[in-house]
Symmetry: C2
C-alpha cells in the first residue's frame, strides 16, 4: 500500500467565544486528509484529523515540509513489517532536517498529520482507533465508555449568574456529572460569586473545575488559589504562564486540591520539565497535553511512559481537545477522561451525532478509525477535502 | 507617519552545510520589508530583516495574522509620543488573539517583523541601529567595535584534518582571534583529534569553542564533557536537547569551563527556566538567544533585564545569528560579542561588504539602521522585495 496524497484546508472556527485571556474571532484550524490506495467499498481509505482548538491552522508548514517528505519517502520508511502504515516511521520522516527545540512551530502540523495516519491505519485494520490504541499501548484493555466532562462556563457579554447556572443545568441534564468554568475574566470577588452559583447547581466541589487560561501574574495567582482552596474543586487549571514552573511549584506548595496544566506544552522535554520543576503532585494533579498539537499519538504514548517513570498514574491524564480524537486516545490509553465542548467551536465541537453521555460517561462507537464519519457536520468538510 | 505595507518573501539558503544533527539542504528564510510613508531622497524609508538561520521561513503566519493586525491597527497603537514607530506597541498588536505558550510558532515571524520595524525607526531617526539601541537600552554607551568570533568548523564529505586547519588559518588571517568548530558528527576519539588539530592552529583553549548542536543523549554528553574539560575551551555549546535543563545542570556540576546554550529557546519564560533549573553559572556560562527568532529586540532587551536580575552580566550574552542584526544588537546593548559565518549561508552570511575585523573586533558602520544597504548581495533581495 502507499499514501497517494495528503491534503490540508484551513477552516475558520467562526467562534464568538472568549476566555479570560483571548477571543477566538480569528481562530482557524487545519483539517487534514491522508489518502491511501487501499480500497474499501469502491473508495480509497482516508485518514482524517484536525489541529484541535486554540492554535491556528498550519497548512504552510505541512505543504512546504512535512507532506513532501512523506510523499517522497521510500515505502520502507513509512510501512511496518505487515506492510501497513507505521506512525512512528512516518513521524521520523516528517522530522528530517528539523532543528532541535522550537516544537510548536512544527508539532501541530506534524501531530495533525500523524493522527490522520492513525485514523487511516485503524480503518485499514477495520477497528475503532480506541481499540487499536488499547492493543498497542494499554495491554489490550478495551473500554466501553470514557469519563467525559464539559469545558464550559465561558464569558459572554451581558451574561448573568442565572445564564451561567442555566448552562450548567443543561450539561447535567445531558448526562454529564462534572463541568468546568472560566475564571479570571472578572475581578476575584465576582468570579467567586460565579463559582458559588455554579456549585449550587452541581452540588459538590469535586464536580466543578475552574480554568484561568494562563491569565494571572503571581499576585493574582496566589490570591485566586487562596480564595478557591476552601471549595475543594476538582481542579484549578492554568493559573499562570504555562512555562512558569517556579510559580506553579509555589502554588502547589500551599494549594491543597488538584492543579491542572499542560495544554500549552508541545514536547516531551517540556512536559518532563513541568513534572521535574513545577512542583506538581503525581497522585493528585492533572496533566492535559493535546495530542494532535504535540506531535501526535505515538509521541503522546511516549509522554505517558515518561510520566509513569516519574510516578504518575494514567488516571491523572486528561487530553485537551474536546473532540473525537482526544476521546479515542483517552479510551485507548486508559486515561482519566476527556473533555467535551457541546455546542461551541462550530463544526469542530462535539462528538458523533449518536454519541450519548450517561452518568458522566460517553459510550464509545464501533466505527472504524476515529469515527469522524459519524459526525455529519464535521465529516462533510473532510469528505469534500478528500474528494470522496 | 504610517506603515503602508509589509512584505515577505521566502528564500532558499542553498546551503550544503551539515552539523552533527542535521543538514541545511531544505532550509529557507523569510525576508521582510516594512514600508513606511516617510520619504528620503525621493524613496520611502523601508525597514528590513530576515529570520536568521536554522528556522524555516514563516511567511504564512505573517500574512494570515501579524501583518493584517498591524495594517488594521489605529495609529495610536503603533506610534510613540513623537509620532515615530513604537516597536513595543507594534509587538502588542501582533500578539492580539495569540494563546499563551507555543512561542516558536509565532516568535520567529513576529521577531523578524519587529527587527525590521527597528531598522525603519533607526533610519527615520537617521542613526545606526546600534546607536539607537545604546541610547535606549545601555545608557548611551555607543561602542565603535564589537568582539566577533567565527562559527565554522563544519563537517563536509571528504574533509581532512588539514582542511579543517586551513579553514581556521584563513579565519585568523582575516583578523579573527576566536573560532568555533562542530563536534558530535564523528566518534569521540576522532572529534578530539579534530579539536587538538585546531588548537595547534589557534594556540590556546580560550580561542576555541565547540558546538554539538544538541546531538548528545546523556551518556555521550557526559563522555564529551569529560574528554573536553582538560582543553579549557572558551565554551562547549549545546551538548544536548535545548530543553533538558536537568542534564545541563548535571554537566554544569562537573564541567569546569563555560557551557553555552540558548539559540533554541524562543521566549523569556524558557530562558528564565534555563537559568533557574539548568544549573548554569552566571559568572561563567554563555547564553545565545537569537533576537529575530525570539520576538525581536524589545523582548531581547527584557530578556537581558531578566538575566541581570538573576545575576548575569551582559558580557555572558552572545546573540545567535552571525549577521548584521545580531552585530548591531551586541554592540548596542553592550553584550559579549557576536558570531560570524564568513562564506557560508549564501547571501545571508557575512556582514557589510566593507566590514573589517581587526584583532578579533568588527568595526561598526555609521549607515542608518541595521546597515543592510552595505551588504550588496543581501540588499539586492531586500530592495527587490520593497520595489525600491
Amino acid at each position: 500500500m502507499r499514501i497517494v496524497d495528503i491534503r490540508e484546508t484551513a477552516i475558520p472556527l467562526k467562534s464568538q467565544l472568549a476566555n479570560s485571556s483571548f477571543d477566538f474571532s480569528e481562530m482557524t484550524t487545519s483539517v487534514v486528509a491522508v489518502i491511501t490506495d487501499v480500497m474499501r467499498d469502491g473508495k480509497p481509505v482516508c485518514g482524517f484529523a484536525f489541529n484541535s482548538t486554540g492554535r491556528y491552522a498550519c497548512g504552510a508548514q505541512m505543504r512546504a515540509r512535512f507532506i513532501p517528505r512523506i510523499l517522497a519517502a521510500a515505502p520502507d520508511n513509512l510501512l511496518d513489517g505487515a506492510g501497513n502504515l507505521d506512525p512512528d516511521k512516518i513521524l521520523g520522516v516528517m522530522m528530517r532536517r528539523e532543528k532541535a527545540g522550537g516544537h510548536s512551530e512544527r508539532s501541530v502540523g506534524i501531530g495533525t498529520i500523524e493522527v490522520a495516519v492513525w485514523d487511516a491505519l485503524a480503518k485499514i485494520l477495520d477497528k475503532p482507533l480506541h481499540r487499536l490504541l488499547a492493543e498497542r499501548f494499554n495491554g489490550g484493555k478495551v473500554p466501553e465508555k470514557v469519563f467525559c466532562y464539559v469545558g464550559g462556563g465561558w464569558y459572554f457579554p451581558g451574561q448573568t449568574i442565572k445564564d451561567l447556572q442555566d448552562e450548567m443545568r443543561r450539561h447535567l441534564d445531558a448526562g454529564y456529572t462534572m463541568v468546568k468554568m472560566k475564571v479570571g475574566g472578572l475581578p476575584l470577588a465576582q468570579d467567586i460569586k460565579r463559582v458559588e452559583a455554579v456549585l449550587q447547581v452541581v452540588g459538590k466541589g469535586e464536580r466543578l473545575a475552574v480554568d484561568a487560561n494562563c491569565k494571572f501574574e503571581r499576585d493574582d495567582a496566589l490570591a485566586y488559589a487562596k480564595a478557591l482552596a476552601p471549595f475543594k474543586l476538582r481542579w484549578f487549571e492554568e493559573p499562570s504562564d504555562p512555562l512558569d514552573y517556579a510559580l506553579m511549584a509555589e502554588l502547589a506548595g500551599f494549594y491543597e486540591p488538584a492543579l491542572a496544566t499542560g495544554e500549552n506544552l508541545f514536547s516531551i522535554p517540556d512536559v518532563e520539565n513541568l513534572v521535574r520543576f513545577g512542583g506538581l503532585r503525581a497522585g493528585r494533579d492533572i496533566i492535559q497535553i493535546d495530542p494532535p498539537q504535540a506531535y501526535g499519538i505515538a509521541t503522546y504514548a511516549r509522554t505517558v511512559a515518561m510520566l509513569e517513570r516519574h510516578g504518575w498514574s494514567r488516571r491523572q491524564l486528561f487530553p485537551h481537545g474536546g473532540n473525537q480524537m482526544s476521546l479515542a486516545i483517552a479510551a485507548g490509553l486508559g486515561l482519566g477522561g476527556a473533555e467535551s465542548y457541546p455546542g461551541v467551536f462550530g463544526d469542530f465541537g462535539g462528538f458523533a451525532d449518536d454519541a450519548r453521555v450517561t452518568d458522566g460517561y460517553m459510550a464509545l462507537s464501533e466505527r472504524p478509525g476515529i469515527g469522524f464519519e459519524g459526525h455529519s457536520r464535521l465529516y462533510r468538510i473532510m469528505r469534500d477535502l478528500a474528494g470522496l
